[in-house]
Symmetry: C2
Subunit: 132 residues, 2 copies
Amino acid sequence: MPRVPVPPEVDEFLQLPNPAVVATLRPDGSPHTVPTWYDWEDGRALLNMEDSRVRLGFMRRDPRVALTVLGSGEDGWYSHVSLLGRIVSIEDDDSLADIDRLALRYTRKPFRNRDRKRVSAWLEPERWHEWR
Amino acid sequence: MPRVPVPPEVDEFLQLPNPAVVATLRPDGSPHTVPTWYDWEDGRALLNMEDSRVRLGFMRRDPRVALTVLGSGEDGWYSHVSLLGRIVSIEDDDSLADIDRLALRYTRKPFRNRDRKRVSAWLEPERWHEWR
């Protein structure tokens, strides 16, 4: 599995607001997966979640994560770019600036639900693989 | 996180040929994710892969896996059903019957590439979560 940095065409693919699934590790070491929005900046992926989400606790406990970003499902085959790496930063998104950034990217509108505390996490990939 | 069995409406959702991402564990315990076709039968998910895929070795070594099945991305939000569980059976798909079953489900055609050995794995979920 190649190491980062990703080549320019993969970087370009990751700039798009594609559907993605993030895997974290539960305390017993088993995997947990859930869809996620992400943004891609300078070789890292921004994730954002409510501060009550179980995966936030999982990331704090063990920062190792994987992210699969899905491309088009033409012909029933799903192209993808997947990143394996670690969460290198977890910070409160008090102003909701990061979730608005993601909501604008995916929905072209600011984030609707503004009364829950949210947290941002940055994923730094170490390796990546793809099928395109 | 609720335990199985899943309720009827979740069972119905899983019958559809939705895009999915499977997470396995690498030998160092970190997560690995990749898109996958699946079929849903009697509360278990059928997966199938080339026998050279790294995730097959990961599943043999540690059977704990997670599968996120994505629903429609209307409004930019992705609905999903995610299953946490174990691989309970790994068998050669010598006749390619299982990959044909998946290819027909996703593409309405038999599987194109018939010269590689393939393997089927059944995922038995223990817990599940959703956002729909």
